[in-house]
């Protein structure tokens, strides 16, 4: 089954009167359950590609099908709901909500789905246990180390049991050992839950966890 399919995707950025092409007619597809790594130098277009695959950016032209749905046909409300139910995000800078505790950060996507309080509490407890943070549930993000914050982000990404996870440089802000731990955790989640993982990285060590590698250069897949 195809998780994500891109057909002739072009992305242009406009800086004042100058137009810069970030993606030059990219076509690709990612199979369900795969772990895909996007590699390429800075400015190659891998983050743009990742954003488009994660439905948080729109292509200038071309078609994006996620789980068979053409996301360009969705309204903002439908697309938000689609992201919430279908995708999980892991960011380089963790991007936890600072006014929420660890458990509230993880719980937030379920709140948007209007899951019952009892069910939310159980699922949050389970996922925090699986990432080894059950005793940190009531802490604020600024009371955690970088590795712990990224674990919270992983828990938040997985709490809705999404079809796939988009991770942009998930280990870039972490030391080597912690980064390795995070990648092992993601690989374990992929194995246990069958979640498709698409991530971008510069780090060859991190790319070793991928089953497929897509190399991006100057807006093209090479």
């Amino acid at each position: 089954m195809v998780a994500v399919k891109l057909e002739s995707v072009v992305k242009d950025y406009h800086l004042d009167k100058i137009s810069v092409r970030a993606l030059n007619g990219v076509s690709l597809q990612v199979e369900e359950g795969d772990i895909v790594c996007l590699m390429g130098p800075s400015g190659s277009g891998k983050s743009t590609l990742l954003n488009i695959m994660g439905a948080i950016d729109v292509p200038t032209s071309g078609k994006v099908l996620i789980k068979g749905t053409d996301i360009s046909s969705l309204s903002d409300r439908k697309l938000s709901e689609f992201r919430n139910r279908t995708m999980g995000f892991i960011f380089q800078a963790f991007n936890l909500i600072p006014v929420f505790s660890v458990s509230e950060n993880v719980e937030y996507p379920l709140l948007l789905q209007k899951v019952s309080k009892t069910d939310r509490a159980k699922r949050v407890a389970d996922i925090l246990q699986s990432v080894g943070l059950e005793s940190y549930a009531h802490r604020r993000p600024d009371e955690l180390s970088g590795g712990q914050r990224q674990r919270v982000a992983i828990a938040r990404a997985l709490i809705t049991k999404p079809a796939f996870i988009v991770a942009d440089e998930p280990t870039a802000s972490l030391d080597h050992k912690t980064g390795k731990g995070i990648m092992e955790l993601m690989a374990e989640m992929n194995k246990q839950m069958g979640t498709t993982i698409i991530f971008a990285t510069h780090d060859p060590m991190v790319s070793e966890y991928a089953r497929s590698i897509i190399r991006v250069l100057d807006g093209d897949i090479v």
Partner: protein
């Protein structure tokens, strides 16, 4: 609920900025409350002065001409068959009492000085001059609802049948005449037919009230006044009601009464008779409106600034929330709620601070002011029931002020915000 919860927490996130934003609202509203309290105290005193002058909630006179040329010269406007009319008026809904009244001018002389006084005459059977110290709580409650009964005796007793020629004068008049309780003053007044009459009146009470009232108004027995100026009945009937808010209703009901003897029966509400009171009230209301408008404008700019800064600082967070599935409208609502909460918290604490400051100022003795040549103290008595117009416009303006930055937050492209550091 998500948006409101998030909004509430974000208020306390940048404590320093929220503190200054809230303080600008709190101080502004507190200042407004203190000023309102001052104005209210002034107006209550002023109204007391007006009603102590014998206006009542509603007046009934023989004809509209009475109010043009008959006050204190009542001889051509005596209500005929007044007992029957009083009986009819007492049956009107909301009417608590119907008091026959006479008014005339007279020269009051002590052994040292002569001054002009406006004599108000009411039946002594009606406890017009209930002594505040002796009155029961029920009497005082009634007195507060019936303006004519709030005269507060600082010394002496109410008028009674025991001393038919008794008079109650104000502290100021007593001071000018240099008389005390038990002294006798000689009063010279015009009588029916155009002649003059003179009589001795014994001071049975001295009241404390509004400055003007104390100086010019004196109270005597209605029966004594009738015989003194030689008339058969009252020139006006003063109606006191169960509640001042029913004045308009009762005025309507009274107009429907067809008295066979007075086909042109005239009614006047206390607000119509107190022209100067109305002018002063309008002036203060205009002041308050202008101050409130300036304050709201300041709050508008403060909230716009705060919320714009907040959006700028939370770009990446907005992107994260959107990526997680928060819709555009939920993001917009979060920022609007945030502004609204700032307005609500600021205005509520502003009102509280205003009341606390008023209390402190009152403890310190209020504000000394020169009034009618004498030093008087004015206090701050803000009314909790009139605080709503201080709160809801602030919340409304805060919501409006937040709408712009909130809309901007909602329109941000997710990928752009996530690149924002």
């Amino acid at each position: 609920m998500n948006s409101l919860n998030l909004a509430f927490r974000n208020i306390f996130r940048n404590k320093r900025r929220s503190f200054f934003t809230l303080m600008s609202i709190v101080i502004g509203i507190a200042g407004l409350v203190v000023f309102q309290g001052f104005v209210r105290n002034q107006m209550v005193q002023f109204r007391a002065s007006v009603v102590q002058g014998g206006i009542g909630h509603l007046q009934v006179a023989a004809s509209p001409d009475y109010y043009l040329k008959g006050e204190y010269n009542p001889f051509d406007y005596i209500l005929p068959d007044s007992e029957k009319l009083i009986s009819t008026l007492r049956k009107v809904e909301y009417v608590k009492s119907v008091i026959p009244a006479l008014g005339f001018t007279g020269l009051a002389a002590s052994s040292e000085k002569t001054i002009s006084l406006l004599f108000k005459a009411y039946p002594v059977a009606d406890p017009l001059f209930a002594n505040r110290e002796r009155a029961t709580e029920a009497q005082l409650k009634e007195a507060r609802q019936r303006p004519l009964l709030i005269a507060s005796l600082s010394t002496g007793n109410q008028l009674s049948a025991d001393v038919p020629n008794g008079v109650v004068v104000g502290e100021r008049a007593a001071k000018i005449l240099n008389v005390k309780l038990g002294d006798v003053i000689t009063v010279l007044g015009m009588v029916s037919g155009g002649g003059m009459n003179g009589t001795d009146m014994k001071i049975v009470g001295i009241y404390k009230g509004a400055v003007t009232a104390e100086k010019y108004f004196a109270y005597i027995s209605y029966d004594f006044a009738k015989s003194f100026i030689g008339v058969e009945g009252p020139s006006t009937l003063l109606l006191t009601l169960d509640n001042i808010d029913n004045t308009n209703k009762v005025a309507g009901l009274v107009k429907e009464i067809k008295d066979p003897n007075t086909s042109t029966l005239a009614t006047r509400k206390w607000t119509e008779l107190a022209v100067y009171y109305r002018q002063v009230n309008t002036m203060y209301t205009t002041f308050l409106t202008v101050i409130r408008a300036i304050l709201l404008l300041v709050i508008l700019f403060v909230i716009v600034n705060t919320q714009t800064m907040s959006v700028m600082e939370r770009m990446r967070e907005i992107g994260t929330l959107r990526a997680l599935g928060t819709s555009r409208i939920q993001v917009v609502l979060t920022f609007i709620f945030e502004g609204g909460l700032l307005g609500a918290i600021g205005s509520i604490f502003g009102v509280l601070l205003g009341f606390i400051l008023s209390w402190i100022f009152n403890l310190m003795g209020g504000v000394p002011m020169v009034y009618d040549g004498e030093m008087v103290r004015n206090y701050f008595t803000p009314d909790i029931m009139s605080m709503l117009p201080n709160i809801w416009p602030v919340i409304l303006f805060a919501l409006i002020a937040s709408a712009g930055p909130a809309r901007k937050a909602g329109k941000l492209q997710i990928a752009d915000t996530l690149r924002f550091i």
